[in-house]
Amino acid sequence: MKKHVTIILLLWLCQLPIFAQNKITGKVSSPDGLALPGVNIQISGSTQGTATDAEGKYILNAPSDATLVFSFIGYISQMIKVDNRSVIDVTLDPESKNLNEVVITALGIKKEAKTLGYATATVNADQISTNRSPNVMSSLQGKMAGVNISTLSTGPAGTAKIRIRGQSSFSGQNSPLIVINGVPIDNSNFAGGGDYGARSANNSDGGDGLSSINPDDIESMTVLKGATAAALYGSRAKDGVVMITTKSRGTGKGLGLDYNMNFTTDTPLDFTDFQYEYGQGEGGVRPTSENPTSGVWSFGEKFQPGMKQILFDNEEYPYEPVYNRVRKFYNVGTNLTNTITVSNNGVNGGFSMSLANTDNKGIVPNSKFNRKTVNIGFSQNISKRLTASGNINYSKEKNTNPPQLDAQDFATPTVLFTLANSMPFEALEKNQTHPNGDEFVFSRFLVRNNLYYSVNKHFENITRDRLFGNVALKYEFTNWLYLQLRVAQDFYVRNQDYNIPNGYAPIAKAPTGFVNGSYTQDVRRNTERNLDFILGGNHTFGNIGVDVTLGGNQRYARMDYNSVTVQDFIQPGLYTVMNGRVKNPLYSLSEKKINSLYGAATISYKEFLYLNVTARNDWFSTLAPQNRSILYPSVTGSFIFSQAFSALPAWLSFGKLRAAYAQVGSDNVQPYSNALYYSVDNNLFPNPSGQLVPVGGINTSLVPNKNLRPLRVKEVEGGIELKLFNNAIGFDFTYYHKTTDDQILAAQISDASSYTNQLINVGRSKNQGIEFLLTGAPVNTKSFRWDVSFNASYNTSKVIKLGLSDKDTVITVGGGGGRTLNEVVGKPIGQLYTFTYLRDAQGRQVFDKNSGLPMRNNTLKNVGNALPKYFGGITNTFTYKGITLSALIDFKLGYKMIAGRNINYMRHGLSKRTLPGRAEGYVIGNGVNPDGEINKTKSAVQPFYESINPLGINEDFVSNAGFWKLRQLTLSYDFGKLLPQDWFIQGLRLSAVANNVLIIKKWTENMDPEEVLNSSDNAAGLDFWPGLPPTRSLGFNLSLRF
């Protein structure tokens, strides 16, 4: 490839001037007199041209009757006749920001927003870095129409779930593609999951790919929402693209130095409303000896002044409520980020280099995160025609004891939110282990272990060294034709280790001579490599402009995974793999390749009519040979009617209509899904004569599919954009309709098939919705300005076809404990189901005749849709003499969840629902027995409220999952004007910020509806274990420019 470039270079170096012409010189400047370097000057109707130098000066030979076209991105182009002049100085006016915004589109190609036939949304650096929430993505919550973001409240290293225009396929991958500087990166998430006892005894939120990015390095973030926007990114862009551009050169002239400091605190919030009338104990009895180790049951006695309890440490404590559990255990977390950016900008290029350090102390004791990043971006003109550019990002992340979630054992929220309501925290803190190192058990429920023990004895370290970036060479053959070659790689090594401590009570004692416990050491090496070329050309024929791009991409992804788990140790307290008694090594390798060819053409007419056509062909290594190749097209159009018709009223500053149609194909499946694989167990088993012999078998519970086809998305969208009254009011409206066919799904199947799921190409669903953005400045005086930005989205979906035949109308994609998430023909994606109480024909609840316990209706009931129908946000910004106050209110509405954690709150006696019957000592359920007689059977209190857990009856906890929140408040002051003109500090801005300020309205019991535990689409709306409490962050941001 290098050879080819050299030849091309040589060719062009040998070119001789063909014409002899008049020499013209001049200077190009902006209205405020600043020189504009890099302005493109072209002789109209020819390929000849030049560009201005660092002083804005140029020299050009041109015929005396020629017309020169001066163009520069962000400025209004001018056409000037030479008219025999030899000096032509030009002043270019900047384009009004709103009108001619430049958008970075697929493959990193910059385009003027007005030419696009589809909806995009952009946020700039300030919106991301000034008021930041712990997680980069969550700072975008509520700011972009059609973009729905949720996080696990696990801090800056946590996982964010992003859905654009709703969830399109039933399961699998619905996340947008993350593209940094034009090249996709790996965004695999390592959020926990798995049961106790398995290798995945670790249930931490290990974060995702985005956590390697320092918000201060982001220059802009653009979301390409539809399939059309993403047509050129192919398969992984079926759910849109989040395009992040990091800084690659300075913004001002010459050398620049920026410093940014951000400090925030995260305060955990408590949304529980538990009963504090009856205290710790079981069966109505309070603990009076060290032994009934109730610990996590609040079915004790009614609190009376002066009552005492004897707890597990055999000490006497007052028998009284212990309030405020969240703040008693969780800390106020802190985040401090310091970023220094050095940049340069000159006529032949520039660079930007930043160094950043983030220190986070999590709300969970002993949980912390450090990230150091170096980001280097550069762009350099090697010769007049050849430009080299690149971006390299190196990050070193160290995540110490990331929060454990979604499980029992070491997950602190599970224990904290079930802890008896009269359990003094000092007793737990004081008594973590016995002198011999064994866990000090405080409850007979062993896997509700002492919180302090969990955070002090269980450890986990995750480090990630990651280098990603790309280098590109761009050669301009002429002013209208270029070739770009780019190599990009995202490589990281992720090390992870964690233990189950020696002496942990829920695991068996080790054989003589060993101590129990386990230790796991994992290494993942991940490579994603993209090679691509783009050949681009454009030409203007009179009023018609043509812009053609051809390209190809090869993507190769590989993940190597090495893991060793050892069990039981020789030397206590030494957690190494060598020290283990039983060793279980594991290695896996996953490889995947996608080759693509694509082309795009834009035809414009008089700068008001644009037509864009693309085609892309992908070949997927993961699919069946006969189905590997898929070709998909897109067509978009944009019509700027405000420019086309001169007779429009003056108040209409800008008006554009747009329409688009696109298809995307995707494999959406893991490698090796085409065959059934076996594995050999690590450990041999003795035959009767003691000879150790191998054991092995089929190692999957998923039925593979040899004939998988790519899924296809077809999307139509249309929209209108208006700017009124000299841009005082902006209006943007989009309608879209998206069909997803041939989805690849791991449908749940009968266990009696010996498998739990089957991979099938199944069904069709459609998503449609509208997105709406209204911006305006209701007040705009010289000293005071009020800006409003309101975005809202409505998304609805429908499952049209499922399964392989028409008889298949329901599939289950996830669930457990009587809660399932199903896809149902004719209904929106994501239907929640649960078991309900048995009722008779008159609707009366039925109770068992002998036990008096509630009975179950054995048919699952549909209780609603788990995905939000409406979401959006309103930002009000007030500016008064350099002081800016901004407030964001956001909302998600029109969906349900099963707040299943309340079953645990019932079972542990904390829910206020467990109060009836306590005074009497029994409950008589209000209803009938199976014979239709009024129920008179007394049931003991505790068993009555415990009974719904084993029965999986969740109907009491089905809730509206919607909310209104005051998400962000920002107060900032720009000290820029106060600074002396020639001082070494040129800019200074200080902001005070608050995030997740207030829930204005919610419907869920004992929780924030946004507290999700799992980023999987297969668990949407299904809640069981409590998550980490959400946090409110407060802080400030200082930005200095030298």
């Binding site: 030849i7 060719l11 040998c14 106790y196 006892g197 069966g283 007979r444 062993l446 068996a508 004692k509 054989p511 390798l589 995947k592 390749k593 080759n595 060819l597 070949w619 997927f620 290594s621 490698p671 085409n674 065959a675 059934l676 076996y678 050999v680 167990d681 088993f685 003795p686 009767p688 000879q691 012999v693 191998p694 054991v695 092995g696 078998g697 089929i698 519970s701 039925v703 749940q748 009968s750 266990d751 098939s753 010996s754 498998y755 739990t756 089957q758 399932t820 068992d848 002998n850 036990s851 008096g852 699952l860 079972r907 003991a940 505790q942 415990e946 857990n949 084993p950 029965l951 999986g952």
Partner: protein, 523 residues
């Protein structure tokens, strides 16, 4: 020269095109050239020697993790009143005679997902290979055994279409009537046992018998005896027919023939593992079992039992308090929960619920304690009953004595310290003749003791024989209609994904609850 030639604009354009084409060709010479290789898993094989897979099936037949054993701990052991927990919620089951959807599906899940999956693959791989004839027939025997446990637990189940999610893409298998299943199991055992070929070389990598074909044959016929006897209430003719056939085929001749899994310090006995740790303080030997053993001076009591005398809480269940002395053993009475039990502590002679007798973790539930699938003792006790019924020749009392002796001798296989001395065996045998008029009771009560910790078999034989004559668990919150739980309901997962077939089974068999009797469990 070259430069000059290339200098013409046309030529340049052409060269450019050629270069571009070359470039494209370089990258995409064949767009899916190496894709077959890329999409091949280079770590995991697509097949394995069938005997290794069969080993996996055999290991999986007892449970692979602690939580999965809760089906046995909470239901089977409790229903037959050998082991119970006073605790409810996630541990409720046989102790309260209540439905608990977390524990009722565990047999189903373990057997279909782990055992049937692997054993079906073995049968599939070996069926047409004459050199694998013995592995094939051994696999058929094991498959028959696994399905017996499944159908005994749930009644009508997917049988003919089961385990074929991959092979035939049968993802919602239909349910077969238990009668048809048992007929096929008997046929399979008959064919497979007969087809085992003693002249073929032994496959020594077999963990069960080390490739000893003669022992596999005996296992086949021993299972046939078990399956035949299972039909004693519902179809005497078939029962008698197969019992006779089994005897003719050749049964176990000593404890050396037992089908047993020899757990190791790595491959644990997971009932032991679970009771040694997570559920350590939660399960107790039930009074009916302890009292029976005590009243009969049973030398097996100290092997089965331990009491942490005077323990007032879980942490006090220490080695220092441990006693297996038969005299101090106190079983936990049936019918109480963790609160109500406190009202009967004194009258039982204990200081707390933690003071009741538990299962001995140094013998029958050492972490590496063996688990028995089919034993010589069980064979002999079944033969005693068959002889009593006149289906086989021989003295019932002789079989009975041999069965008891075999089981007493079997204790030594748990741990050398559990060995029952010859004089104790003789004394016990002398004190326990097969008294006329009480044969079925005595035989099946001995079977009850002999199948301690083999929950599936113990529960099945209790339902078939009606012995021992246990009293109804008096727990006041019982949800069942008869005196005992008769069956496990189908898992919720089946209601969710295989509803039509479940409904067909319910229409044939009866309500999907704990009351419905399976076909062979005729009232």
């Amino acid at each position: 020269m070259i430069f000059k030639t290339l200098n013409s604009k046309n030529m340049k354009t052409k060269t450019l095109y050629i270069l571009t084409i070359l470039l494209v060709a370089n990258l995409f010479s064949a767009c899916d050239n190496d894709f077959d290789e890329i999409n091949t898993n280079k770590v995991d094989p697509t097949s394995l020697a069938p005997t290794f897979v069969m080993n996996k099936a055999i290991i999986s037949t007892t449970y692979l993790d602690g939580v999965s054993t809760l089906g046995m701990l909470c239901y089977n052991f409790g229903i037959v009143q050998q082991v119970i927990t006073p605790y409810g919620s996630s541990l409720s089951g046989g102790n309260y005679n209540q439905f608990n959807n977390a524990n009722t599906p565990l047999v189903w899940v373990n057997f279909y997902r782990n055992v049937i999956k692997q054993i079906v693959a073995v049968v599939e791989q070996t069926k047409d290979d004459p050199l694998q004839k013995n592995t094939y027939n051994a696999a058929r025997i094991w498959k028959a055994y696994a399905f017996m446990i499944l159908t005994d637990t749930y009644g009508d189940i997917p049988y003919f279409e089961a385990g074929q999610g991959y092979i035939n893409e049968l993802i919602r298998p239909k349910y077969d009537a238990q009668e048809a299943i048992y007929k096929d199991i008997l046929k399979e055992l008959d064919e497979a046992s007969a087809a085992l070929d003693l002249s073929q070389a032994a496959v020594t990598t077999d963990i069960l018998y080390g490739g000893n074909v003669a022992k596999w044959k005996k296992l086949g016929y021993s299972l046939m005896l078990r399956a035949g006897m299972r039909l004693s209430k519902v179809d005497e003719t078939t029962a008698k027919n197969y019992v006779t056939k089994a005897v003719a085929g050749g049964l176990f001749e000593s404890n050396a023939d037992n089908s047993v899994i020899r757990h190791t310090a790595i491959w644990n006995n997971y009932i032991a593992n679970h009771l040694a740790a997570r559920e350590k303080t939660n399960f107790y030997l039930a009074a009916p079992f302890v009292n029976y053993l005590k009243e009969n001076n049973d030398p097996r009591l100290p092997v089965f039992a331990v009491r942490y005398v005077g323990a007032k809480g879980g942490p006090e269940q220490t080695g220092a308090r441990a006693s297996s002395d038969p005299k101090v053993q106190i079983g936990m009475p049936m019918g109480y929960n963790d609160v109500t039990i406190n009202s009967v502590l004194a009258q039982n002679g204990v200081v707390s619920l933690w003071d009741f007798t538990q299962i001995n973790l140094t013998t029958v539930l050492k972490l590496d304690a063996p688990e028995f699938h089919v034993t010589y003792a069980e064979n002999q006790l079944l033969l005693a009953e068959a002889a009593f019924r006149g289906w086989v020749t021989g003295e019932p009392a002789a079989y009975y004595a041999k069965g008891i002796r075999a089981n007493l001798e079997q204790m030594a296989l748990y741990d050398a310290s559990a060995t029952i001395k010859e004089d104790a065996i003789l004394a016990y045998l002398a004190a326990h003749p097969l008294t006329a008029g009480k044969e079925l009771d005595l035989i099946n009560t001995q079977y009850w003791v002999a199948t301690f910790l083999d929950g599936s078999e113990c529960f099945a034989n209790f339902r078939r024989s009606g012995f021992p004559a246990l009293k109804k668990n008096p727990y006041p919150g019982s949800e069942i209609k008869e005196d005992f739980i008769r069956r496990m309901p189908y898992p919720d997962g089946e209601i969710i994904v295989n509803l039509q077939n479940v409904n067909d089974a319910i229409a044939r068999q009866g309500a999907n609850d704990l009351n419905t009797r399976v076909w062979w469990d005729k009232k």
